[in-house]
Chain length 143, copies 2
DNA sequence: TTTTTTTAAGACAAAAAATTCCGATATTAG
DNA sequence: CTAATATCGGAATTTTTTGTCTTAAAAAAA
């Protein structure tokens, strides 16, 4: 298997992107969200719970309850969602898993990967939900 | 978890890189290789078996048996090892896992990732074991 | 207040990935 | 030939990840 983010993380990104195109303040139930992104409801629900813990989204119980963004889409960077789910070591760990890794003793692919990793991290750290608004909207509508 | 290659694939890369710095034709046992890369012997052994199936390395049974490169390090591209273990869909699948993915209907991160993915694939497709010789040697010696 | 709806929390189950075990077979040395 | 050493192939086990269920608690409506 070759994967960049865990399933949880993928679904977290999808869910939050979905929330980000709804009118500001909209509360959407886990049920609706899961239907939209075509993923198991209970699983999505669980993932969203952990995003509320880090204040990316907020939840409301009871009738007409659900989840909504906790802040402005401009304030939510993609990397925030990723680290919330997959941890902060995200771009620290290595593609090669070579033992004894350090700057003085880099593994054969270090130099080659370092650039790509840095670019990826950069991309995820600069882009916010707001930046993806248009294309997210187009995508969601067509699913 | 955030991972690019599976554990198997990482160990495959490490094992083959190790073989590539040994004098041409050297036969090394799974036991030695696993010690060198500090990984479970039986697991390494299993992984090496599947690499023999695709003629990246060859094996020899019996006393003084083991594994050795099946061809010149110049002929073995990194991507060959990766596809042998993780399959050819390696860079086809997506970071986002958005449903309904297609060129006309790309997901929000498509454009941003496409470039990075292409660069990664390019890097893995152009580099051979021979290209990494010097740094691999330095790395292995220091582990 | 009672009912309905929805999240919260945690145990539980299933699936996938990683790792080990074992019996068979091949190879070489003595 | 026999003993020793390795890979081979497949089953079995363990661990991690993914996904489900069940019960409780909160909120709104009746
Ligand atoms: S040296 Fe670089 S490429 Fe190698 S294991 Fe460490 S971080 Fe990864
Ligand atoms: S559109 Fe691009 S980024 Fe999105 S799921 Fe498809 S390949 Fe991945």
């Amino acid at each position: 298997m070759t994967v960049l983010f865990s399933k949880k993380c993928e679904l977290a990104l999808q869910s939050v992107l979905y929330l980000s195109i709804l009118p500001k303040g909209t509360i959407e139930s886990a049920d609706n969200i899961s239907k939209q992104i075509k993923a198991p409801r209970e699983f999505v629900s669980k993932i969203l719970q952990s995003l509320t813990d880090v204040d990316i989204i907020k939840s409301k119980k009871g009738k007409f309850g659900g989840f909504s963004l906790a802040k402005d889409p401009k304030e939510i960077k993609l990397i925030d969602i990723i680290t919330a789910i997959d941890g902060d070591y995200v771009f620290d760990s290595c593609v090669m898993g070579f033992p004894g890794c350090s700057d003085e003793n880099p593994c054969p692919m270090h130099e080659k990967w370092a650039k790509l990793r840095e670019e990826s991290l950069q991309m995820l750290s600069t882009n916010t939900l707001a930046d993806l608004y248009e294309i997210t909207k187009r995508k969601i509508e067509k699913i």
